[in-house]
Assembly symmetry: C2
């Protein structure tokens, strides 16, 4: 029953009492359980003889507004624990009795009560002065739910009534609209509607199967990231998804990280093999397979490597928490002198991506180690001090607003995480950059410096786009499923006005396909309007309308998903426009982008 | 001691006797073991008191030629088994005694002997008429090796002398030259020299780690295959590398294929998970996740999916036999009426690839089932007859020369394999096309036909480029490591004549890199000639020479790896030429290709 320090707490708490009073008016025999304020308002749990339905909401809300109009003062009182139990027993409030006995057992001698009007509740406050301080249009009953007493499914199931409550009507409206948008854009909902991915219990939980539509998005993103990385001087590697057990003892992941890894495969006559939960040990093996010179550094190994992490099946959620993770991974091996420049370049690359996709609300978290926690972090105070100082200099020199997360570093070094807020308001890490001074020791990685001496490189782990699964979940919600042409599963749908123009439509389809466009020709018997509606439902960015005039004049009429205008242009102009949209990665899913 | 029906058998067999006679001249106490003809000549195993060295080869060869000059007749004789044992004992030939006793135990009553000149050997023949029938320059002693008596390492180690022998001097020369070429082009040797991949015992046998150079080749090939598949109307999917055990019981791979799969991961509270050994079950799950209409067919799902197969560690070999296999995989779901066209299109796509890479010596093997073997093949005579007939019609209509492999089909249907010959002369399957009528039943896959009825689709499994591992092994040997510009790990190396021209060289490097070329600038202190030599050693297709004249006139001088000419051209011309080489996938590693 602990509440946050939200200034709305007393209002929401008071509203819960008003709700209970109103429910008792229509269900006088209802027994009360808990009724706390929450982030979006409050709820109250009732044990009812006759169930409530959403049809009762209006009646209850009306009763609540009447109670508010009565300006009932909230009056605090106290009883000794023993008196309180007797008092509640007398009123038949069996749930309150149980909780009161528990409080007494914990040693509480005085129990608080609050009265407003005819209603009394065991309660520690605080409350408003009187019910009239609640703006009558700041709240709305939201929903009914079943809830077990004390959250234990062995107990009786109670009826929970959720109430949304904010400072005023506008805030309430803003919240419900945002929530509606979030529901519409939920990547699980859109993922199904637009056929982007499948979660199959036959294959296994948390192991998404990417359908052709989702794979098109994945590959568009991957190709783009590969090109960016090539421009930033990365080279690519490809490593197997498994390795011998000992590799992970060398890296330090075993035994510490064992619970997050899939169980081993026991190869008779050989040893245990593990599915990789991270790409770094494989990359270190490539770096270390022959002597390296300072002339080769920095060496930037990139791989879209799929790693596997065991997550409890209960914690899996759509694409946001999965067991198979296709990471936009890279490891940079560099000299001490190069660390800062490499961190800055990584930081800028990450921000470039976010600007391009128009993410706002990005927060940077600088995570350092906790010197007191010797178990969670490599025990090397000097290197910790030094590496944290380097990262600090980088954020200072780039003037990055950031939150400090003491004790949240990786076990091998400090890190910079980028956090975004989902449509549902949850903050999630989408990318990470980590400085690693421990792995070079573990793997005995060295290079020959310009003075001929053998030195340890530093390693930067970075994943600006995080994992495909999580990043695409973000993009689905961020774009509401309406992807720009270069990422869209179907980049154009050709809509012939009737069958006479099919030959021309087919020619256009062929031209687009030979230019590697993902294009569909609607050959159904549907009416023109239905064809348009269907293309809109699929959120296809370009609807290419072909009528007699277009066929005669070698033109097309383009209707875009994200814009109001409709324009007729020559076939060549259109093909060039499509090619430019793809090769320049134009974000033409934003209505303000002129293409 | 079984020999093939090679017409060279008597010559090689006779030569083994000549070899033994010659060795006895310089090692009179040598005891003889076995001395059979083999595919490339013959060998003989000796138990020697004083070892032989390659320095003795000349002496032995000279003695052999002398024996040949003597035209010693080969004379056959027979002894009873008992007499033979006594005879060999008397001559102290302990190994022959042991084998003779074994023959007697097997029930052989008469033992054959052959004499030529002073030499006698227990032997069943056949031989030439006399040693003079051996052309004196048709053979050469090749090498020495250790070999255990009867191949059992508990026995004594003997000295084996290998002799190469062919019909004449020219054939001998052709063979040794081809073998030398094969050794130079061996993908394991070139893989190391050109740093294409690493096999690490720490990660595990048969699990190649692709270095940046090898990954560049992989990705060039992958991007090309993806574009081809897009043009052929394929769509792409992406599926996890693991699945629940039951999926493989549904597919029929468990329990039958279990020995070829990695052992399971036992997930507590859930079930066993397996690493996938094939992509098909995952693809079938995508096809089957919702109802399908005939309008959607053919549906062609492609994935470069990495599968894992357990191969005995002893059978692993470079990239040709591995445990992690990145397959150029696809599954085509189609109606009965579409099967033939789809098979033909697949066949043509495969041949297009091979023509482009200039593979010759490709053989097609049409594998059918064996009606007698009910255990190895799905028991459905009608569907077997029908599917084999379809495939037969396809090869007939396309007029494809093929070998018939009865009993070599997949368990679910007939297949067409393409086989190529490696540089070492071994025939290997590089791609497969299979018609599958069983999986649609196993997975209960259906579509709604145009008459509204539910029907089973047919499935074609196809992988024209096979696996990256095997296909790239082929290409390495086929190209001798000299890849065309579009595939080359380093597409161009810029070689400045001296440091004065570095700024211009760097500008060129920047231009090429911004065009996504893999380019290196040689900034070493090496002499110009050494710089060229190094680029040649790395088999870099384009050496871009920058001198003062080039810097002043904004030109470059291009020296190609695979051509003799050297040409000066404007910087723009060169950049365009490089872009064209990549986008058009020009096979400019063949000297006759004009670019």
């Amino acid at each position: 029953m602990e509440a946050t320090l939200d200034p709305l707490y007393p209002l929401r708490h008071s509203l819960a009492h008003v709700l209970a009073q109103a429910v008792l008016q229509i269900r006088p025999k209802a027994k009360l359980a808990f009724g706390p304020p929450i982030d979006t308002g409050c709820y109250y749990d009732f044990d009812l003889e006759t169930p409530l339905t959403p049809e009762d909401f209006k009646t209850i809300e009306k009763a609540m507004r009447k109670i508010i109009g009565q300006r009932q003062p909230f009056v605090a009182s106290k009883r000794s624990a023993a008196e309180a139990v007797e008092h509640l027993k007398g009123r038949g409030e069996q749930y309150k009795v149980e909780y009161c006995l528990e409080l007494a057992e914990r040693g509480e001698t005085e129990i608080g009560f609050y009265t407003n009007g005819p209603f009394e509740d065991m309660c520690a406050g605080p409350h408003l002065n009187h019910t009239g301080e609640i703006p009558p249009d700041c709240f709305a009953i939201d929903s009914l739910a079943g809830a077990y007493w004390r959250g234990d499914e062995k107990n009786k199931q109670l009826t929970r009534i959720y109430v949304l409550a904010f400072n005023n009507k506008d805030e309430l409206k803003a919240y419900t609209e945002k929530r509606e948008l979030a529901r519409e854009r939920d990547h699980r909902k859109l993922g199904k509607e637009l056929e982007l991915f499948i979660l199959s219990d036959v294959v296994g939980p948390g192991l998404p199967l990417w359908t052709p539509n989702g794979t098109a998005i994945r590959e568009a993103l991957e190709t783009f990231a590969k090109e960016q990385e090539a421009r930033y001087g990365y080279v690519r590697v490809a490593t197997p998804h498994i390795a011998k057990e000992n590799l992970y003892y060398t890296s330090g992941h075993l035994p510490y990280y064992k619970d997050s890894m899939f169980p081993p495969m026991e190869l008779k006559g050989e040893c245990n093999y593990y599915l990789k939960a991270m790409n770094c040990p494989h990359h270190h093996m490539i770096f270390g397979h022959r002597p390296r010179s300072y002339r080769e550094l920095p060496l930037r190994y990139a791989e879209y490597g799929t790693v596997y992490r065991y997550e409890d099946s209960g914690s899996l959620s759509g694409l946001l928490r999965v067991r198979s993770i296709a990471q936009n991974d890279a490891h940079i091996y560099c000299t001490l002198e190069q660390v800062k420049d490499e961190l800055k370049a990584t930081f800028n690359m990450t921000l470039d991506y976010y600007r391009m996709f128009r993410f706002d609300n990005i927060k940077v978290r600088f995570s350092t180690h906790d010197p007191a926690n010797k178990e969670k972090f490599v025990d090397n105070p000097e290197l910790w001090k030094f590496s944290e100082q380097i990262v600090k200099e980088v954020v200072d020199e780039l003037q990055v607003d950031h939150i400090l997360g003491v004790g949240e570093a990786a076990f091998y070094g400090p890190k910079l995480d980028f956090q975004a807020t989902t449509m549902l308001g949850r903050e999630e890490s989408i990318s990470t950059t980590q400085l690693d001074f421990a792995s070079p020791n573990n793997f005995d990685l060295t290079y020959i410096a310009d003075d001929g001496k053998s030195r340890r490189p530093y390693i930067i782990h970075r994943a600006p786009l995080g994992a495909h699964e999580r990043f695409i979940a973000f993009l689905i919600e961020h774009f509401g499923g309406a992807f720009p042409t270069w990422m869209a599963p179907i980049q154009a749908r050709i809509i012939p006005v009737n069958n006479d123009v099919l030959p021309y439509a087919q020619r256009l389809e062929g031209i687009l396909r030979s230019n590697l466009m993902r294009v569909e020709l609607d050959q159904s018997d549907n009416s023109f309007n239905k064809k348009i509606r269907e293309a809109v439902t699929r959120k296809i960015p370009n609807m290419v309308i072909i009528g007699h005039k277009e066929a005669e004049e070698s033109t097309i009429t383009l209707r875009r998903y994200c814009a109001k205008e409709q324009a007729t242009m020559s076939l060549d102009t259109f093909v060039e426009r499509m090619k430019r949209a793809v090769s320049n990665r134009i974000m033409d899913n934003f209505a303000d982008v002129d293409v």
